[in-house]
Symmetry: C2
Amino acid sequence: MKLLFKNASILMEDWSVLKNGFLGIDGDTICYLGQERPQEDFDSEKDMSGKLLIPGLYNMHAHSPMSILRGIGSGLPLDKWLFDSIFPIEARMTPEDIAVGTRLNMMEMVASGTVSFTDMYDQTWVTLDEVDKAGMKANLCRPIQCFDPSETYEDNFRSKESIKLYHDINAMNNSRIKADFSIHGEYTNQPHIVAAYAEECNKLGGRVHLHLSETKKEHEECKQRHGKTPARFFYDLGTMELPVIAAHCVWVEDDDLVLLKEKNVTCVHNPTSNMKLGSGFMPSQKIKDAGIRLCIGTDGDASNNNQDLFEEMHLAAVLHKGYHLDPTMLEATDLLTMATVNGAEAQGRENCGKLKVGYKADVVAVDMDRPHMMPAHDVPSLLTYSAHGSDVVMTMVDGKILYENGVFLTMDWEKTKFELDACMKRLF
Amino acid sequence: MKLLFKNASILMEDWSVLKNGFLGIDGDTICYLGQERPQEDFDSEKDMSGKLLIPGLYNMHAHSPMSILRGIGSGLPLDKWLFDSIFPIEARMTPEDIAVGTRLNMMEMVASGTVSFTDMYDQTWVTLDEVDKAGMKANLCRPIQCFDPSETYEDNFRSKESIKLYHDINAMNNSRIKADFSIHGEYTNQPHIVAAYAEECNKLGGRVHLHLSETKKEHEECKQRHGKTPARFFYDLGTMELPVIAAHCVWVEDDDLVLLKEKNVTCVHNPTSNMKLGSGFMPSQKIKDAGIRLCIGTDGDASNNNQDLFEEMHLAAVLHKGYHLDPTMLEATDLLTMATVNGAEAQGRENCGKLKVGYKADVVAVDMDRPHMMPAHDVPSLLTYSAHGSDVVMTMVDGKILYENGVFLTMDWEKTKFELDACMKRLF
């Protein structure tokens, strides 16, 4: 099946815009991009007048089933919010809750231009099934936790589930879905469990997704407990031998950046969640200047409270300028890089994150025919400062359209609402 | 003409939600609000299933014609951006540019739930005409400026135009449009001009709209020039005898807050613009704690770069929490208060800013039937953290619908785009 987009504005990899261009798709791959109509035949054509085609966005830190907890515990600091408000509800969540939460979350994502996400949650086999059906890309993991110092690695059922998920996903042989390993955080684990898990993961190969220095409390308590920062804790326990995707990194110290750079760790900026919970915010410019790969994420809906990466780009773009009184910090193109190609790289995906011949057809159409998108003096600036996720009118993953003009093509909106109602009655 | 909204969720003045309610409108006024169907007859009914009715929003600091400069000079600090990039283009702007810029800006506003704005710009008679035709509410002013210390008040043509605008608007006897006085800022004026203008304005009565301590440079240079802060400068020159709407207030000092409180000044928070230009951000919680009225605004499109007050509420809500590491700062209901009833009060409008019988029918419908608006555990939190301006599906001002489901009913989208194209060719 070959599809040709015509009359499109196309965001190129150098962030320039090709006007009135053609973008051709053959199966799951971009086969043509140019000013001239291609010579070859296509099965169908789609008029993209007034639309800008951009590469799909990567949400690099999510907890997708948490959509059903949206708005719970507003105004509480992270530790109270997590331990007193969120954990007790999560303990009651059934596979039905996980399924509908994941689906609702993916609907938010595809409706706002996200094509792939790096997710961390429990009952991950349910999320896996929903992602498989929905057609999104995702890196999934089952995070390990251990609160009991006397527990042995052999008795830690989460580690077993985490490793099993890795094998299950690899056995599916679905290039859209990848298995990551995951350690929830330093403050929710014991060193001997982390070390044993790292040893097992390092033999298998892959990536590790974890929370790092999200709150000052967590960061300082780690130093009291272990005499070292969380980054050094993970480094010393062998968890950074594989590529690490470290969410938050709000309180990382200068010495930590040396370790993160050495081990090629990816840092994921989650500005709304960190600010909303009163955790602070990542020193993104410093991390970027240290040559460390920066990505962007939403975190879960319970602390954001949506999955709109355009909103995260906007906040990240203004936050550092306003705090450091320097309007040159984190330019619009830096944010777009974080949200596209850097995400694809960090997820271990080749030929993803750009609109380019030979790359996967992960294409998002943004409607420029709206008052707040005119005039178009500066397109990267428009995308970062003026646009919202709701300006997305089409989201395509691997050549398949998942969302178009308000309609979800692979997920059932009415069924999801019906199931959400049932979850709410059961949970609250 | 009497219209009844039925099956609506309605945001009440205590921020609770009345479900499956009725809201009746008679002419420009809310005549019924309740759980039961009203006894009286209505000319027409509108089904609002899945929609939340909220009071229309007040954008308390705008420069509406600047929409045509969206994205110009991105990455420059305020003084360079203003003097080197923006002012030279503004000097070439014709009445046609002002007209199309104002209209484009109002389209952004009504499409995102704003019913009224406090605007500051030149060639204000053009803006006045556009607002009159579009049906929005606005407080308009022509700001005075003077860069030449030898200029007399009699020779300052801006003061004359500013006072003339006041009389022209009052003569229109249109309750939607109000005249404000305006002093652009301390750094763009001379004390003797400000004093003489204040004396004239104080005799006439009204409100004064000005920029106050937006950048550190402006604030510190004022102290060097005049031996006092901008707030004290305006206080001493008699400009605070009328109610003042002071935009920005980023660098106000503790002593300034005493003056602002004494004179009942309204402070307008413009978080995106201030952060984007690297100016910093308003100490909003401190201003609120001092008992000073807080409102919210977008500033012009050239420094925002859109007019979405939901985005401003979101940013303001997370900014102070993240900076002060305190998730209890500026709650969702504080933001909604700033964006509705506080705006109406500061604009000098009676019976505006709430959904309540006897109040003006400035009603906005928000679509709750979208993935990111579910579940609805906490509606003020949903509006502040999860919603975008694009969730607005209807905006009504004084009982007249200006925008509904993507369609502008009092402004011509195709004509505006055509005219915008012509402006772009002329200006750039």
